[in-house]
């Protein structure tokens, strides 16, 4: 996907090669755009990820950045989070999954999420046996209703 380098100036000859070069570079853009977008410009891939939270430990656990995710409570090696479903409900209580890792890149595990109305809560356990984490990133993915 390259930018066209042609220049069209009034009064100068117009060889077919310059037109063809412009058509070719425009086609590259069209091919590139079509890989991940449909004809109306919408993304082809469905977006399953819908909530994210970055938690940091500085004496106590706190939410550093979050989108539809908040911290309810925390202990030394666990955090309890709430996930907001107010814009779209889950297809079923089981169609939500979390992916969580510490700032050491080690995987976390979590309890089965509890769905109550438009809020999901769960407890995430941080691995502390190897080294104490000072950060945790949590991503929620799921199948939600088309509302």
């Amino acid at each position: 996907m390259r930018k066209s380098i042609e220049q069209f100036v009034a009064g100068e000859p117009l060889p077919a090669a310059k037109i063809n070069s412009l058509v070719g570079s425009s086609e590259e853009v069209a091919i590139a755009a079509a890989r991940e977008h449909n004809r109306s410009g919408l993304h082809i891939h469905m977006r399953f990820e819908f909530a994210i939270g970055v938690f940091v430990f500085d004496g106590s656990w706190a939410l550093e950045f979050g989108d539809r995710m908040s911290l309810l409570s925390a202990g030394a090696d666990w955090i309890e989070v709430a996930i907001d479903l107010s814009d779209a409900a889950l297809v079923a209580p089981t169609t939500i999954g979390l992916i969580a890792t510490t700032d050491w890149g080690e995987e976390c595990v979590y309890d089965t999420p509890s769905v109550s109305g438009r809020t999901v809560t769960t407890k995430i356990y941080l691995r502390t046996s190897r080294r104490s984490p000072t950060g945790c990133m949590v991503i929620a993915v799921g199948r939600r209703r088309d509302e």
Partner: protein, 196 residues
């Protein structure tokens, strides 16, 4: 994301095409390239793909229904982007897809999958468990690599991936070692997988 400006011209047969028209076409092409680069990054083929974690090539969640040292039955709760949905395989003598002898350290549960879109994979896994029990040595492999560390792809295996979830515990029975499910295997309830 900035807007993509373009202008429509009207003309008749035999009219002179103004250079300005063609130059605007060039500028529109430049704007389209900038637009695509704005929230995309260029992948290994030179094509723009969405930047960041929010757009995934494949996502699935599978629940473990029954478990043993011989077979694991799973149920797919949702799956997208997989030509073959993820499943758990028990490695007896060989690592799935590779043909490599598993040996004692790698005898256990493997998660295997096949993507609809081939190409290099970045994989993240999430584990729903019954309490704070962790996998002891999680390993994830892009099975599409011709050989480990190479940029070359094996066209027969491209799109396939495998992850070693955990190894079996062992118990001595007479002179034999008998496989047993590990604490993580017993606690594991569901797996979420996301592939970029």
């Amino acid at each position: 994301m900035k807007p993509l400006w373009h202008r429509l011209y009207q003309s008749g047969i035999g009219d002179v095409v103004p250079a300005e028209l063609l130059q605007h076409a060039v500028q529109t092409q430049h704007a389209a390239v900038d637009l695509l680069r704005g929230d995309h990054e260029i992948d290994w083929q030179g094509f723009p793909v969405h930047r960041g974690l929010r757009w995934m090539r494949a996502v699935a969640k599978l629940e473990i229904v029954t478990r043993s040292v011989h077979e694991v039955e799973t149920r797919v709760l949702f799956s997208y982007g997989f030509a073959e949905a993820p499943k758990i395989e028990v490695s007896g003598s060989k690592i799935p897809w590779s043909g490599i002898p598993a040996g004692v350290p790698l005898r256990g549960w493997w998660l295997t999958w096949r993507l609809e879109e081939i190409g290099p994979q970045a994989v993240a896994l999430g584990f729903e468990t019954n309490g704070p029990v962790f996998p002891r040595n999680l390993l994830v492999f892009d099975a599409g690599l011709a050989i480990p560390g190479s940029d070359n792809r094996n066209k027969d295996r491209d799109g396939r991936g495998i992850a070693f979830l955990d190894w079996f515990d062992w118990r001595e029975v007479g002179e034999d070692l008998v496989d047993e499910l590990s604490a993580f295997m017993l606690a594991l309830k569901a797996i979420t997988i996301a592939v970029r």
